[in-house]
Symmetry: C2
Subunit: 332 residues, 2 copies
DNA sequence: CTGTTAGCGCTTTCAA
DNA sequence: TTGAAAGCGCTAACAG
């Protein structure tokens, strides 16, 4: 593999000039630059990233830390972030630290130390200690889906989303409304708690009490189990708010199995606006997902460029109610 | 940030000893090693990866190249590969080059040159020219979901999968069988072609002709559209083979909308064994997805360690028919 | 078992 | 506009 010295020698200039010419820096005569470019191409030269970053202190890489790569939400967010980073010339280093063990190892060793110019933490609520470790990296940090005082973040108003979902059911006239919630918080997700509180708040404000809450683990199967359980109760709900579309789809499946028409005897509303929601005619609260990733990426990119730390921005993206066929007034 | 020299000075040893001690190399007295470790911890020292890889020529990083991060299949494969790589101490660099433009830029600049000790190319059929470029990187290459002479690869027997699916329908007594296929090959995917050929082969072997083929783009919505179109034909099929579960689910939705009972008037079989397949009681051909990623990762890892290039392995993982409720004999 | 010493390939002053 | 030269922080012989 050709080095910068090979190019310099062959082009009859100094390595400094090659470096400048190839990086598009000013103060290089255009003919010189052209010549260097040509020679570099001939030699099939590409800078050694490690040498370059050792010398410059830059890595041209951004780390993305996620709980999982699978899962509709995470994949979408990563995808949104990656597009922006790639376009800005950054490479993406991926760390998925879903289980406790890998999470601990990650924070203990911080493998990305010195490997990234910025870090994006997706949907992973970090403890105060972890924030400290991340800040010790000395690079800009961007959060998606949760926020921490002093750090840049992007997210949605989960409470507002849950409120609009619940109000929609209340406004249709439902009195017995149940919740299919997220899991028992193994990773410390804050989302389920926020949505639950907002759900309860709206019910209370309308003089209602929930008709049950069942955990659905944010999966299809969990949603189906949860709905099945709710249907077997003494006084089954006439409407259900599922904290994610995936669980809502599972719930629809359970209804169908019980020969209950969604939007007929039982209304269902989800959260996300998953591609499947449209296909299944599921009423839901839409959130911009890829955009949360791209916005966060832009945020940290701006930080990298910035001379001094700007004060943390907290971007809240809008959610909106998408009414489809699975919600309707209760049967009288 | 402390450097290795700071640690060496403070510990009263040479930098070489620090390097050896911290990397767990032999020939370091245990007390010395302990002492160095302690001092390094005190100083919060972490090796500079760029310095380290500049000096050693290793990067401890593997690049994963995919068309998209979203999409059930890709996310799962990435996840499987990542787990293995992480466990082996490698970081993961992610390149998604789904659209033609980013694909061209990727191969033109090969940003991973010198940044990775191996490359995993997932479900992205590479042209001969592209293979040449990748090989020019001089690192082991692993392919998933397609293969190229001379390269290591992991995949399933797509033809066998499609045959078993089609035979299942034929064996149930169906005569009018349609295909919901993948998209028009924008990225050069070879999978749709292989599955289609196998489908036709089985029909032919049984003296049948297909009852139509409609493109479903590997999406829910596409599957629904495709099924809807098939139902509007002169002589609609009594059974449908969808090349992916996602399309099959869309097809089920279309049937439901037409008040047709899946597994009753029309049978549907998918491909993948997506989580949703179980929930929706969808008959399908199961393929190990995460395992394709992890196997490929192991393959290249072995190559990295290996002194000389072993001859290319081509691992074919098994598929199996999972019969559920959406397939049954045709109504007489 | 430990230390010395060349580099690894680039970027970046500082001079010219 | 270009060149010379000093590192960036580490690893890997080689010596001892």
């Amino acid at each position: 593999m050709a080095t910068i010295d090979d190019v310099a020698r062959r082009a009859g200039v100094s390595t400094a000039t090659v470096s400048r010419a190839l990086r598009g820096l000013p103060n290089v005569a255009e003919p010189t630059r052209e010549h260097v470019r040509r020679v570099a191409a001939e030699l099939n030269f590409a800078v050694s990233r490690s040498a370059s970053s050792l010398a410059s202190g830059r890595t041209d890489t951004v780390a993305i830390v996620v709980p999982h790569v699978t899962g509709w939400f995470f994949a979408k967010v990563i995808s949104g972030a990656e597009a922006v980073l790639r376009a800005a010339g950054y490479d993406v280093l991926l760390y998925s630290i879903g289980d406790t063990e890998s999470r601990e190892r990650f924070f203990a060793r911080l493998p990305l130390r010195g490997r990234a110019d910025a870090v994006l933490v997706l949907a992973l609520p970090v403890t105060e200690a972890e924030v400290g470790l991340l800040e010790g990296l000395g690079v800009p940090i961007g959060l998606v889906g949760h926020d921490v005082a002093g750090l840049h973040s992007v997210g949605i108003d989960d409470a507002a989303g849950a409120r609009v979902a619940t109000r929609h059911l209340v406004n249709l006239g439902h009195k017995r409304i149940a919740l299919i919630s997220g899991d028992g918080d193994p990773l410390g997700f804050t989302v389920p708690g926020m949505r639950r509180a907002a759900f309860q708040e709206v019910l209370r404000a309308n003089g209602l009490r929930d008709a049950g809450e069942v955990v659905g683990d944010f999966t299809y199967a969990g949603g189906e189990r949860a709905m099945t359980e709710l249907l077997a109760r003494e006084d089954p709900p006439t409407a259900v708010f599922a904290m994610s579309d995936e669980m809502a789809v599972g719930a629809l499946k359970a209804l169908r199995r019980h020969r209950i028409d969604p939007g007929g005897a039982v209304s269902v509303i989800g959260f996300d606006d998953h591609e499947m929601a449209e296909v299944l005619d599921l009423t839901t609260v839409a959130q911009p997902v890829a955009e949360q990733g791209s916005t966060a990426a832009s945020l940290v990119l701006r930080q990298i460029g910035g001379q001094r730390a700007t004060e943390p921005e907290r971007v809240v993206l809008p959610v909106r109610l998408v009414v489809r066929g699975t919600t309707a007034p209760p049967r009288s």
